[in-house]
Symmetry: C2
């Protein structure tokens, strides 16, 4: 039986794993309690970047109602190999920043993040993480395995 | 270009999609803010069932400190086809119930849910959802596609 190794990943390794973008999960405490919303994201300039529909539930839920005060959210990315029972997960925690200024918006547009759902979804949100943590689980052959 | 269809899933369809078990994501507001922890789960008797280590951070975070008062959590399961840009996600919200009574624990043991991380992890937690919601995104050929 291979031995299970559960390791904590350092921040650099976490950021390397999520750098290629793809599907991640936005987590926030919304009007319907804890909510998880998969979104297509890019990682650019140290931040998670994704798009939602303007005035969508997500957009509204992520506003504090206080100008310039930002809403704390979490963002999770993972990858698992179900057959090998191996994989990793990365958790980013930080404020959700709404891109309102025109220069911010056009810089984000240039990154080319596409929402799968299509439609206008012209509201950009970025998360610059205050805390990045990750774990990896893998299986390594034991001495007994290599003898057999 | 195929047309994007974003649909809400009813509860029966959500439960059908998650019934086979596998990897899901436990979401809770822990001591380090919003936290997401992928776990291997089974769906049994209307509830999500998984195991953690006794006295682990997860176990502690999910206790309210008030006997019999349960901690509200969310549990998310999804599946995406990155090439087709299609997929679904299901969100369950409800209290995290710690299986303490011997008969509950042996019933859970019989379900055979295995934590990937191995080790003792003999603490069972179940979530009987108070609310189940889901969404699916798919692409259907338009009339123009079928003509070409």
């Amino acid at each position: 039986m291979p031995e299970v190794v559960l390791e904590k990943l350092d921040e650099a390794e976490c950021l390397r794993l999520i750098a290629s973008g793809g599907i991640g999960r936005l987590v926030y405490a919304g009007r319907y309690d804890l909510t998880v919303l998969p979104v297509n994201y890019k990682f650019h300039d140290g931040a998670i970047l994704f798009r939602t529909e303007h005035d969508s539930a997500t957009d509204e839920d992520l506003r504090t109602g206080i100008s310039h005060a930002e809403y704390r959210v979490a963002f999770e990315v993972d990858q698992f190999d179900v057959e090998a029972r191996e994989g990793w997960s990365v958790l980013l925690q930080g404020p959700a920043h709404h891109l309102v200024a025109e220069e911010e918006r056009s810089a984000a547009q240039a990154v080319g993040v596409e929402p799968w759902a299509g439609g206008p979804r012209d509201h950009f949100i970025s998360i610059t993480p205050a805390r990045v943590t990750g774990r990896r689980i893998r299986r390594v052959p034991t001495a007994a395995d290599s003898r057999s």
